[in-house]
Symmetry: D2
Subunit: 367 residues, 4 copies
């Protein structure tokens, strides 16, 4: 047991527990008015801590076992490049974000993961020393605060992700690493299995996929990672935090290539029932760290918790405000709504879009 009397992330995973991740911060805070699309930087941790705190809290209530620091794109080079924040330093954001996640995590018994993500620097010059120094700076800021483990996430190149892992491992803490890649592999053409091998060799304890593609594609990618690790005789825990949108037409670059990105994705959003299906399939694929990324709101995370309630042994606080499979509709005044208070109804529903002039599939820009 750690200092708070709760199991740490590896203890949980090693014991075979299901770890529920949190949802997406950036996209949701954009909709709430605190993050600027195009920049996607997390200065709200300093500017509007109440908004970040509240979103963390929603994920906690929904059953998240881990709260990730709101530090996406918070490397110095990215902040400078975006030009969005001139009076706030990355150090300030990183430190504030750690405090916020910690504060809310301690309202329950969640762990806090300090998060780093891809850097513009890597694409610009591939300079290992320079890229690593960016990660090192962020890590050092996290280490001044009370975080439980690290996650390197949203990497399109296995090489850069491996560099991040190598840096973070110097802390002695557990490191998870997720890439935003498709079953076709990373942007250099490295297949998912080889990406996973590279990450584990770099020191990652947990590997997987996040963002960019829908649950179906992400599960397929993590399966390929698992197979790659098996072939190489390596072991690691598996993790998945997919996009909360349907992206059946996406290939390499994921939802960024869709015409709807980033301001018309609503009609692609997962329902809670889509998430039930996802959580079950991820579990059956042997993945034990199961969360979400952009588009996953609190009720999506709750759906993971509810689908895996038998495996976990409990329901989250927010389930007090939710009848399983719609059970609370039994009290509705309309008979046809009462008839929806059952699993079969929602599992078989094919929801209509209400948009008869819109297609169901788009042509991705990178096709």
């Amino acid at each position: 047991l750690g200092s708070r009397g709760i199991l740490d992330i590896l203890e949980r995973l090693n014991a075979g527990e299901v770890v529920v991740g949190d949802g997406g911060m950036v996209l949701q805070l954009e909709r709430r008015g605190y993050v600027k699309a195009g920049h996607w930087t997390p200065e709200a941790a300093v500017q509007h801590p109440e908004a970040v705190r509240q979103l963390h809290r929603e994920f906690l209530r929904a059953g998240a076992d881990v709260l990730q620091t709101f530090t996406f794109y918070c490397s110095e080079d990215k902040l400078e490049l975006s030009g969005n924040v001139t009076d706030i330093t990355g150090t300030q954001i990183n430190e504030a974000a750690c405090d916020l996640a910690r504060e809310v995590a301690d309202e329950g018994s969640a762990l806090v993961a300090g998060c780093v993500s891809q850097t513009p620097c890597y694409l610009e010059n591939h300079n290992e020393a320079e890229v690593k120094s960016l990660f090192k700076k962020q890590m050092d800021e996290f280490l001044k605060k009370d975080i439980d483990f690290f996650i390197a996430e949203f990497f399109r190149y296995a090489e850069e992700a491996a560099w991040a892992v190598e840096v973070l491992k110097t802390s002695g803490k557990t490191v998870g690493a997720t890439m935003c890649i498709s079953p076709h592999g990373d942007m250099s053409g490295l297949p998912p299995g080889d990406c996973a091998v590279r990450l584990v060799k770099a020191g990652a304890d947990i590997v997987g996929v996040n963002c960019h593609l829908d649950p179906t594609a992400c599960i397929q990618t993590v399966k390929l990672m698992r197979e790659g690790l098996e072939r190489a005789g390596l072991k690691a825990h598996l993790m998945i935090q997919p996009l909360g949108c349907h992206t059946p037409e996406c290939n390499l670059t994921g939802y960024i290539s869709l015409p709807e990105y980033p301001f018309a994705l609503e009609c692609r959003s997962l329902t809670r029932w889509d998430v039930h299906k996802y959580a079950r399939e991820a579990y059956e694929a042997g993945i034990r760290y199961i969360g979400g990324c952009c588009g996953f709101e609190a009720y999506h995370i709750r759906a993971i918790s509810e689908e895996l309630r038998a495996e976990r042994g409990f329901l989250p606080p927010a389930s007090e405000k939710h009848g399983l499979w719609g059970a609370a509709l039994e009290m509705h005044t309309k008979p046809w709504v009462r008839a929806r208070a059952r699993r079969e109804y929602w599992e078989n529903l094919l929801p209509a879009s209400g948009r008869p002039r819109c297609p169901s599939m788009a042509k991705p820009a990178d096709e």
Copy 2:
């Protein structure tokens, strides 16, 4: 100028100003884990004030000129019937909700509207004295707090709405009244024009429509209300707070009749660009109190503020985190995303659902 040095609601409307309403509380707080679908009662005002406060704040930042108290379905009979809250009284909720709205409204210069909605009692016995006593009780609780005016909203019968208005007018305050009806009229078959006449004769200063149907249908209904008032030689301000979903197939009972209600409505959600179109059309129809109901999130309210920025003369705080018509995408690394930093792109986009096995129109249950 009122006690806070800001114009009250009638002064604003009489001066021809655009008043931006807030968005939907109930559906959004359900997703965040604080409201139970099926019950839809607002006990979170007492149980989780921070969550209610934060959602109010998002609407305020998005430009809302009015914050409505989170008192939906908060009549005693409804609370009892739902059986959802046993240890919290309606009085507690009503009072807490007034305090929360007031607190956040004063972070800006918004007005607070105390809100009442339809009662189960009306449907059960149509007893005017009994129904009115329920509204009177709520009103008295509101009057103990600092609210600026009243809104009677979400009424399916003009008669019940008129009773609510008659009660609320005894306070001496301004009263708005909105019905959740379609262009076909209220559930007794009374056409929208006649509904409006009845409400104005009962004392309503502002009349209109809220919830249940999409912007297109709601604008059509308010136009019919306006025509009814004109024919009767009556005057009132017009108000609209539609559903944030596309409901082209809905008739009388609105989105409750859709197979997707209430747990699979995602793919029907309005984009911010749908809201630009809506705000413009509502304005052109002569409506000056323009907000949203269920499904309207902060970014939808911001879209109203942005569409009508010339008419209002300013942008809301949350627009600091939003490039008009996607302008901030100009800095994106992908050329095809940069090409989306313009109005024409988003106005003409027909977003794909990513759901090729789903239809675009459903068969409503009440058809």
Copy 3:
């Protein structure tokens, strides 16, 4: 009994019989390579009689009680204007078309209807004498041949249709008249009920609608015609020959306003099961002359005959090659296809388009 020992059209309708009409010639012969889209003139009656004869025969075998002469757009002014046929006269076409229809009709016991349609002349100058002389010329050519009655069809203006009826009635023969209008009325704004009154007053024995809109819209229009006649205290038989395509978005000008017209209408085509539904609804609306126009192929006409087999008392020859409601699938090798040998399957099927990038509704050009 007429000269051939069969009842004529009025005897049949007066006796309450169902009369099955034929399908569309022009669109089908375009696909077979004998009619030029844009011109739509019937010179194939002279150039390729075997093709016209074969299509007549398919409709006869499918149960058509009437074969219409292939004389669409065969007024002299239209033929000249189209410039498509320089070496064949309208007289030649009209005479050849009568012979072809007669020849095939006598292979069974069908009637032959000589058909005239709208003239460019009417739109150009509204000169009653000139327009009527065009109809008179065609009528005289028909009268040289052996035809049973007349149909004036595809009129967008009630005035021109009435002129045609007045001319055709001078022959002493029965006259049917159908307009290609929507429930909104003719192109001058005359409502369907008033159109019907005008036609009956001009002498029409049978009135109704053909082409331009789908069965749902056409049935609605014929109902409005019936109501108009009832209000005026007039009597006439009702007739319907709708488009064989789904056109839910069409208003005044019908399918010509759709982006798919005329070369991409395939995905809108009615299935045979759509036609079963149509035939039943038309029958229940009191319509007794039930056929089809553009897009109705032989199997659609057979579906009318099969749906109304109890009312008519027999099945058509082509039903020897068709199991009712798919019954002949019972012998298929695949179990899942055998499971389709029943009415419930086909009645409830919502067919997929196989076109995930295409919408389900278009924006008509005249909207």
Copy 4:
């Protein structure tokens, strides 16, 4: 030059000419009322020769260089099994079909291909001698008539197809062989490349794919065949006659697995513009025998001829009744229709289905 003074099929292909195939007989004659779905046998060649002759003629006019005898499923065992025809022998059908194809072919300068297809016998007992005797019987009947070459088509197993080729090659005539398989291979799991190798080793001069899947899938399969032949150092001409429907969701068993098979396929039909695209892609893939199967009507075959008019050097007779890329619409009375008289319009059109309650993709039964 052959006896008729025209080049035979191999001379044409060896010279690099494009050979345009004909379209589908069975599905089209079902719609015209002459073939029974479920049985799909060709007794109409005896019962209604005028209907078969007319359809052959439409394909000839559309540019078909080859007319295939209407002898699908005309092996004795299949005819017996179907039980559809009791008074007509396979011999009678085969002979009549040869005469009909020959008669029409000689109205132009087309070749006649005698066609055999898969037998129930193969699936039942895999008895090579018995299966081959069925093919031998048909071949002998064809050889009594005047046919130019053979096609073995619609085979799901390469083994049975190879047996057919071996039999047909004993005639000394050219033999083409097409299988109704997907890129996944034949029903025994043999990949397309290996299927092609087997067929060529059995003696096939032309190999390829027909029926069951849409142009996109069929082109992919033929490409795999070509690669298989190249790897094996073998040479053969390539042939393609795909389904005239969009089948993006189909895998092994093709359109038979779709819920719409066989009576609700309308909304999947190719437009003529889809065929332009197909013909170009097939040509660019090195395929020189390009036709269609079920769902290809005369206007689809004409579209192949028109797309490849430069390569072939001429247009077919039916193009007299067709403006290239809709050119003849220039004379339409509606300005918006005139605006469609150009290639760009039709190439970019995404046709709407007019069916807002229907999905765009189905779940295949064999998934």
